[in-house]
């Protein structure tokens, strides 16, 4: 019998490529002989656009880099600018950042869980996950006024303090949420078809993960205990004692389990943070010549570096001297790195983003080769790729 390979274009418009990824696959029946990931369909020039905008103008845009977890990129950029300008963030603002980031991590993982199961053919988990995500989105909307593109952080803190009763709603959510995860586990974890589809599929070995620069839950599922929250702490993560779940197998099932454990861990972390949240200002409103004289870093009005160039009210005055910085934030997808080089004007000279989804897309052909056609969707789903983050 004469057979020939079938070249098939999966995407850029395809239900399960999570946006606009294009995969060119050579199929031999159901088996994949070769696959190539083509990216760039959602390139918006995020890095170049930064060079023609001042720091405050660029800040709302970074939320759009990863639309499912906007807080992380926002935090990454804020920490970069704060580091360059020497702005101390008040403790209360850091706690608010931590709570919102962890909430965002849960909501992003929930959407991942729903779409992952949808890729595997199970429709109903998506609706259950969206139900819980809706609660988080409402909580964040009450705080920030937005459901997705929050634009909540600003240089020196957060844009505004939380409204009355907001912490209560977060606490209620955190109390009810672990039971919901138990429900998902009942539906999914022991399901024989789910196990068949995910166990031993798309195995990333430890060396391979490190070679390709995989980070986040994908790396931790391969047995590497690396988490920027622990290994290079930012914000107030130092104050908390929390676990980093790891699994050794490195297959789709391990990635699923790590993400579920991460959701539980984030929930605990939020509960701890709620009890410890300090009072005080939520942002450094007036970092001017005013100085109350206490010179404590926590004080909203003193700080160690009170420079004239930073004024919340007039962003045009924020001129950062020539210097550069790289910040690391553990986003829901992995290590999100922001490099900022300032040149003395109110615009950055260069902004570079290193996003976790980009590395995860690189490893995709390696994992899919030799597998079956349906495995592409299982692997792609389990890697948790968000395409705007790949293309930026």
């Amino acid at each position: 019998m004469i057979t020939e390979e079938l070249k098939i274009n999966i995407g850029p418009q395809h239900p399960s490529t999570h946006g606009v990824l294009r995969l060119v696959a050579d199929l031999d029946g159901e088996y994949i002989r070769d696959i190539e990931a083509k990216i760039g369909y959602l390139h918006r020039g995020m890095e170049k656009l930064a060079e023609s905008r001042n720091y405050h103008q660029y800040l709302p845009m970074v939320d759009r880099i990863d639309y499912l977890s906007g807080f992380f990129n926002s935090a990454s950029f804020c920490y970069a600018v704060e580091g360059l300008a020497g702005i101390k963030v008040p403790k209360r603002a850091e706690y608010l950042r931590l709570i919102t980031m962890e909430l965002n991590r849960i909501s992003s993982h929930l959407l991942w869980l729903g779409t992952f199961l949808l890729d595997l053919g199970a429709t109903s988990p998506l609706f259950y996950c969206l139900r819980e995500r809706e609660e988080i989105v409402k909580i964040l909307e009450n705080l920030t006024g937005q459901r997705m593109m929050y634009n909540y952080y600003c240089f020196g803190g957060v844009r505004k303090d939380m409204p009355d009763g907001w912490l209560g709603s977060v606490r209620d959510f955190c109390e009810s949420f672990p039971a919901k995860i138990d429900d998902y586990e009942k539906l999914i974890t022991e399901n024989p078809i789910f196990l068949e589809r995910t166990k031993g599929v798309g195995v990333i070995s430890q060396e391979m993960a490190l070679d390709f620069g995989i980070t986040g839950a994908n790396l931790r599922a391969s047995g590497v205990k690396f988490d920027a929250r622990k290994n290079m702490p930012y914000s107030v993560y130092k104050d908390f004692n929390f676990d980093i779940p790891i699994h050794q197998e490195g297959d789709c099932y391990a990635r699923y389990q790590v993400r579920l454990l991460e959701m539980r861990e984030s929930c605990h972390l939020i509960q701890k943070a709620i009890t410890r949240i300090p009072g005080g200002a939520s942002e450094k409103l007036k970092v001017k010549r005013t100085n109350c004289g206490c010179n404590k870093p926590e004080c909203a009005f003193c700080g160690d570096e009170t420079k004239v160039f930073f004024k919340k009210t007039n962003p045009l005055v924020l001129k950062i001297p020539t210097s550069e910085i790289t910040t690391f934030v553990e986003s829901s997808r992995g290590l999100s790195t922001c490099y900022v080089r300032a040149n003395g004007t109110n615009m950055p000279d260069r902004v570079k983003w290193r996003t976790p989804s980009f590395s995860a897309t690189q490893i995709l052909p390696e994992l899919c080769k030799g597998g079956l056609y349906a495995d592409i969707m299982a692997i792609l789903g389990s890697l948790d790729i968000v395409l705007p983050e790949v293309d930026r």
Binding site: N191, I193, L372, Y373
Partner: protein
């Protein structure tokens, strides 16, 4: 009944010949009407039931509580532009939905809805039913091939391989019922089961489970919906179809859903016979003749229980992979159905 029908023509002073010719057509017209109504209802039922399971409301805009949603959908599909891709094989592309639709419609005639209420009372009804419904695969294959679309092609190839592998355990488990009842006439199979203790599900339980699983595969439903796997093949074999041609595929799928469920009920769950043995309507002297209504009620309620079970499975399970699908059929279901057949034969020989 036949005489009464001819009398109508006499009263209306129409030639008797028309009555003689039209008499055999009536069951088929009735069954076609029943099928359309059932399908319209089944689509709505599935959407509402899935909505219930996934904490949504489902269709609730057209008519009271969304009752006319499928009617509105059907009208929309009728008025849609009928697109044939430029490089498609136009003849096969047009014929395919019909080839897919017609077997699903014909087999309605073989289902006994009440005692002797069956349009085609064939002595080999079961065999005929399985044979005719297997034809629909040809429609899928030609649809996938004629569309000149790679996704459709893959979907059609999957559909054919799946149908071939699951046809065997399906027939073997149906054979266990034939062994038990000693006939292939569906009417006699249903009649022979009597009350709940006589149902063939008890001696041939694995036969029932295998038949249900194979039915899911034949119907291309979750977890065997690979030919139209949305997340993999966009929409599978019907990717290029639109308008009424697409509606025919849709219609045939739901028609087949009902027919297969009714077949499961007829083979394993006593068919139209009441689980308690007797009929309430049969006790009352004057309306003894309408006992078929109660029989039809039992058939429908059992069938809808099976349909709801299939829909529940759809809401619960993820999809199998192509190789797992094959190995599940050839390595597990086929040996199990042989064992089941052996067990049933021994049961029949020593006990039954």
């Amino acid at each position: 009944m036949y005489d009464f029908y001819l009398k109508i023509f006499k009263y209306l002073s129409l030639p008797k010949l028309i009555g003689v010719i039209t008499w055999p057509v009536i069951p088929f017209a009735a069954i076609a009407a029943l099928m359309i109504v059932l399908v319209l209802f089944l689509v709505l039922l599935e959407r509402k039931f899935l909505a219930l399971l996934t904490i949504r409301k489902g269709p609730n805009r057209v008519g009271p509580n969304g009752l006319f949603q499928t009617v509105a959908d059907a009208i929309k599909l009728l008025f849609k532009e009928d697109i044939i891709p430029a490089n498609a094989n136009k003849i096969l592309f047009t014929i395919a939905p019909v080839v897919f639709f017609f077997p699903a419609m014909v087999v309605y005639g073989l289902i006994p809805f009440a005692h002797n209420w069956v349009a085609i009372n064939a002595s080999c009804g079961l065999l005929l039913m399985l044979a005719i419904s297997a034809i629909s695969i040809l429609g899928l294959l030609s649809a996938g091939w004629a569309s000149n679309n790679k996704y459709s092609m893959l979907g059609a190839m999957r559909a054919v391989s799946q149908a071939i592998s699951y046809e065997l355990p399906l027939v073997l488990s149906a054979l266990s019922v034939v062994v038990l009842s000693g006939t292939m006439n569906l009417n006699k199979i249903a009649f022979g089961q009597g009350n709940i203790f006589g149902w063939y599900i008890f001696p041939s339980f694995f036969g029932f489970v295998i038949f249900l699983i194979c039915t899911l595969a034949e119907l291309n439903r979750v977890p065997f919906d690979l030919p139209e796997a949305e997340s993999e093949l966009v929409s599978g074999y019907n990717t290029e179809y639109s308008g009424m041609k697409f509606a025919l595929f849709f219609l045939a799928e739901y028609a087949a859903l009902f027919v297969y469920s009714a077949l499961i009920v007829t083979l394993f769950l006593g068919g139209y016979s009441s689980p308690f043995g007797g009929y309430i309507l049969g006790l009352i002297p004057y309306i003894k003749k309408v006992v078929f209504l109660e029989q039809a009620f039992w058939l429908m309620s059992k069938t809808f229980a099976i349909i709801l079970l299939i829909m529940w499975i759809r809401a619960t399970l993820p999809r199998l992979r192509a190789d797992q699908l094959m190995s599940f059929s050839w390595k597990f279901l086929l040996p199990l159905s042989f064992l089941n057949l052996l067990f049933v034969a021994l049961f029949k020989y020593f006990i039954g």
